[in-house]
């Protein structure tokens, strides 16, 4: 039994699994049910000035028979009165003193507004605050959420205002709808944030109906862009978390969000620098009980790895994440097909033949049995065949010794510059860093 407790910027919770600010954390009833099911924390559905939500809000992308590969919504922040939410937060915290209850906040970019709401929620006993600079629709049109979250100076200023009033840790939730996530992450850090959380949802349109030609979803015949989340966004979120984790100017803890559906996803985010994770879509798809396997799976994983605490995972893979220019150009892998496992579907062959480097040959042995073989000298090690292969273990990518010493692009450019000439190469290599 490993210790699953985490401490994120001073916020303690019994395990790293929190519900993200979204419909699952809309009410005290829901959050308390979630804690009963095992969730370690919850970020309350974003509080702010009253809004109205539309009817018809969500849509999903199903992929090859699996439902909810991605999820799209046009919901805004809470549509319940602030006093009601505050009362329920108070009751929830009283019933679950050891669970993390975080208030998510969104107000107009004004110092007074931030001071006011921070004081109100802290008065009912939250463990921390999350500033929602992420909602990509609706609120953004009013200059809040992603609209202010896309401008580093506004992120910095609002974080500062919130911090001026705050007694509890402040987490800044970032929008992914920006070219360089570290720009706003750094701004939050400068503003004094205690932690950042990411990602919020990504601008999206789930689909168009082929018969009515209406958007999916539509509200009385009209659609608007929504925010995308769920399993499909995980790689985008993971990269953004990793980029922040490895940036020395973002030296604050991270709460990882985006497409986390099980304990494996959570471990990946933690290895890439997240102190804990937040989940929305997976809970919406299956209910609160999915946390049981998250806890159990993480526990067994830590035991297997001989780790005594979940905190030991945090950031263990960050140093492995680097820039392209630092990758060893002389490292070489090739595909190797294991005939015992191969079912001769020829998918690897056609993938390589049509779309890669034409090096998987089809043969027939003396017994008339078909088999495939990689011409290793021509294989560039792109991984495509092993990606399309439907049989686990039929293709492995194996490292082959290189005759040359390891050398990255940056080192190469430097070496060339050292020999003299090509001065331009050197400066462009520096820029890439």
């Amino acid at each position: 039994m490993a210790d699953l407790r985490i401490n994120l910027a001073g916020i303690a919770s019994p395990n790293p699994f929190w519900l993200a600010s979204a419909p699952p954390t809309n009410t005290g009833y829901q959050v308390q049910r979630a804690f009963e099911a095992g969730w370690g924390g919850a970020v309350w559905k974003t509080l702010g000035d009253p809004i109205i939500n539309t009817s018809s809000r969500f849509a999903a992308v199903h992929f090859n028979g699996q439902r909810v590969a991605g999820f799209n919504n046009i919901e805004l922040i809470t549509d319940r009165p602030l006093e009601v939410n505050l009362k329920e937060i108070y009751e929830t915290k009283k019933r679950f003193p050891n669970h993390a209850v975080i208030a998510s906040l969104m107000v107009e970019p004004s110092r007074e507004k931030w001071h006011e709401i921070v004081k109100q929620v802290e008065a009912v006993g939250v463990d921390g605050l999350e500033l929602n600079f992420g909602c990509p629709h609706g609120m953004a049109e009013r200059g809040m959420g992603a609209a202010s979250g896309q401008q580093p100076d506004l992120v910095e200023a609002q974080t500062m205002w919130a911090k001026e009033a705050a007694q509890t840790p402040v987490i800044v939730k970032l929008t992914p709808n920006i070219t360089d996530i570290t720009a706003t992450a750094k701004a939050a850090t400068r503003g004094g944030a205690d932690a950042i959380s990411l990602i919020n949802t990504i601008n999206s349109l789930a689909g168009v109906d082929l018969d009515s030609w209406l958007t999916i979803p539509h509200v009385g015949g009209k659609g608007a862009h929504g925010g995308y989340c769920g399993p499909a966004v995980k790689p985008i979120a993971l990269n953004m978390v990793a980029e922040c984790a490895r940036n020395p100017q973002v030296n604050i803890p991270i709460s990882g969000i985006g497409g986390i559906s099980n304990w494996r996803d959570a471990v990946e985010f933690m290895l890439m620098g997240a102190t804990g994770v937040q989940v929305c879509t997976a809970a919406m798809h299956h209910g609160f009980s999915i946390v049981e396997d998250m806890i159990d799976g993480l526990n067994n994983y830590l035991d297997d790895k001989g780790l005594s605490s979940a905190m030991e995972l945090i950031g263990k893979s960050v140093s492995r994440y680097s820039d392209w220019g630092d990758l060893d150009l002389n490292y070489q892998v090739v595909a190797r097909i294991h005939e015992e496992e191969c079912i001769v579907c020829n998918k690897c062959h056609i993938a390589c033949e049509d779309t890669s480097h034409q090096c998987i040959e089809r043969h027939t042995d003396e017994g008339g049995r078909a088999y495939l073989k990689v011409r290793e000298e021509d294989c560039v090690g792109c991984n495509l065949c092993s990606i399309v292969c439907p049989v686990e273990g039929a293709i492995s990518m194996v490292e082959v010794p290189s005759s040359a010493m390891p050398m990255s692009w940056n080192e190469r450019q430097e070496a060339i510059a050292g020999i003299g000439g090509e001065g331009n190469a050197k400066s462009s290599a520096r820029e890439a860093v």
Binding site: N262, D293, D296, G297, V391, E392
Partner: protein, 452 residues
Amino acid sequence: MGIAFISEQTLRRNFAEVKAGMKRKEAVDESNRCLYCYDAPCMTACPTGINIPSFIKKIASGNLKGSARTIMDANPVGATCSRVCPTEELCEGACVLNHSSTPIRIGDLQRYATDWAIHNEQMLFSAGQSNGKRVAIIGGGPAGLSAARELARFGFAVTVFEAKEQAGGLDTYGIVSFRLPQEVSLWEVEQVRQLGVDIRTNAKVGADVSIEQLRREYDAIVLAIGMSKVPSLGIEGETLDGVFDAIDFVESTKTAVRTDIAGKRVAVIGAGNTAIDAATCSVRLGAMNVKIVYRRSAAEMTAYAFEYDFAKQDGVEFQWLTAPARIIGNAKGHVTALECIMMELEKTEEGRARPVPIPRSTFKLEVDAVILAIGQTRHLPLIEQLGIAHKRGIVTVDESSYQTSDPQIFAAGDVVFGEGQGEAMVVSAAQQGKKAAYAIYKQLIKLQEESA
């Protein structure tokens, strides 16, 4: 009749588990097909209430240890059950996907997860803190093991008295190897033993151990002795050489190889699951011809549909509406034929058709062996000695606590099956064992604590 020879190697192959375990990809694909229903009907349909969506989700997420634990937590003989449960009548029959697609292969997934635990030598549970109370369990079959496991987790000091050389009951000795290899049952026994349960084999209560001793030394007793031998038919020739009790017959194939059936003609009397097992066993032992002789018709047989199909696939023939009248032997006292009489079905008030003989319809089946599989008798002497209420050897229990008429004694499993009480299945034996354990915990610990 020629002497047939069957090699030990062939026999071993014939008795190896028929069904292959799921491959990894198969298991992952299938587990991802499960909808993870809320208040899932499959779960309600499982007599032990295994959290099926949860264990399946854990296979999908790669948490196999957690998956095995979810299964074994609810069902201490979950590895056996994955192989022998009539799943189409239980969990899989209730799966919501029956309506729109094909049901999830719950049994196979359950086997996949428990096989993982077996192969990786996982120890899934630990004993509770000692509570100072002692419980004796008579009989180490699924009911007894299940009670023992739960009691050990509650912190009781548990001793299981088992008459045979190994524990596991019919899982170890009675269900044919090609459906349930003995190792699976013995692994489950080991899981219980590892909780500190003292499993004393070759210890028959009433003979090697006295009832008085148990009453004296233990705070509670769980009676889980199952049923006994096949009853006699009451016809001539039952003592001839070549007449077997189906349960003994199957047992003989679990522990060793037997070559005496090869090339022989076998008649199995009865049409329950035991008859099917005896018949398919005979086929695998190399019998030339195997007939199931049953006095009613296919519609009335008690064997599960999948068992019936399995027997047909094995080439077993069915002789319906046929009752045995006499077993005929030769001068050496060996079976040579079975004299039968044809029957017809007569409607009765109670509903179940009653077979009545058709006059002058006797005929002779030439056979070398007759296997009797017409139900099981009860361990009447021991039950009488215990002095607990019973109906013809079927021990009477309270349906929720499994307590007998003697408050110190609880009973679970086949020993309480019959007269509309219970079900003769491994999974129900396991559930009853659990319930008896909970009732003992309640009686000896919880109520004491509350009144203290």
